[in-house]
Amino acid sequence: MSVFKDAGHLFRFAGLFVLAFIVFLVVRHFVVPPSFGQYGHYRAAAIGEIASRPVKFAGHDTCEACHSDVADKKSKGKHAHVNCEACHGAQAKHADDPSTVKPVLPDTTVLCARCHTASAAKPKGFPQVVPADHSNGMPCDTCHQPHNPGMDAPAADAPAKPAEGAK
């Protein structure tokens, strides 16, 4: 084979290329995460990692599983569509361990004002008051029951005192 007579150096060079390619494949196998490219140009396992974060807001369905009395009371009033944790804050820890983790009862003076302080910027139909004029600094739950705030709400559920309200 006279064609390949002086081609030895080319074969050695080609061998080097093949070797480099194999090294590339081996390195690539170890550095590219296994799930990379499963759904697209990203690591599919990241989806599962993000989904496995712990939840902090339990969700109103969880609350209502135990506190059905409050859910009943709330369903008749203007706050029917306000979820529990909108006012009570994130309660997943309490839901996981109700006996040891007790929620802190919100201070109605601060809590109610967040939504109901009068401002020209708020939608006109939304109930709003100037707290200083309206209640003279008294906590809102002196007169209103937060779960059913209308003044015509049944008197049987007197405004909650912090001790019993922490149920």
Binding site: R43, I50, K56, V82, R114, S119, A120, A121
Partner: protein, 254 residues
Amino acid sequence: MNINRRQMLILLPAAAIAWKSVLAGTPEDSPNYKMSDHWWGMLIDIPKCIGCGNCVRACQTENDVPDGYFRTWVERYHVSDWEMKNPQDIMTNPMTDPQVISPDGGKEGFPVATDESGKYFFVPKMCNHCADSPCTQVCPVGATFVAPDGVVLVDQKYCLGCAYCVQACPYGCRYIHPEKRVADKCTLCYHRITKGLTTACCEACPTGARQLVDLKNPKDPIHEFLKTHSVQVLKPQMATGAKAFYNGLDGSVR
């Protein structure tokens, strides 16, 4: 065990495929969740928003968002009345109108507005979970992506923190986490929606101004809502395929 070269060459790819399926990423805690059954978005009903900041606080609690950074925030717009004598004046200085404020992202609400003139409204902002996201397209390492269920996520183990995506997002919804030094953004509470819960911001919204929507669910009320309301997305001219739908959005919102 004797394996010759031929057997080895057959076994290696087979083992690689088996290993791949072992490590395949499926949401672990949610065995009933199928990504292909969902296409998530958010409906934001501007006339219902009262600017209480509950969503911003809830998001920070749920997702450990550092102070001064926001995955969602609320802006208050004040659009002045037209000057009756010289209506053209509003055009001469468009930078002063509308006036937009967002003190600490609206986390603690807004100062009381006393000026009764003009109109006010609140605009909650968040990641629009675009179907054609500019942010995912610029990532040099494939660390951010649109998941098969339409949620734009960041793989924080893979992110280099180059911040190219932060610049690319036309809505300003991304930031570099000050401690992790990687891109961070709204995940649409992916750890919640895959478990059948709604997002923290929707859970905490007292007026229902925010609603998580699943565009692949035929029973989702969003379909009826989109038929009967004038719903817009932000910056439609950018063709991002945004899935944060705004009802009653004013033309002055940019």
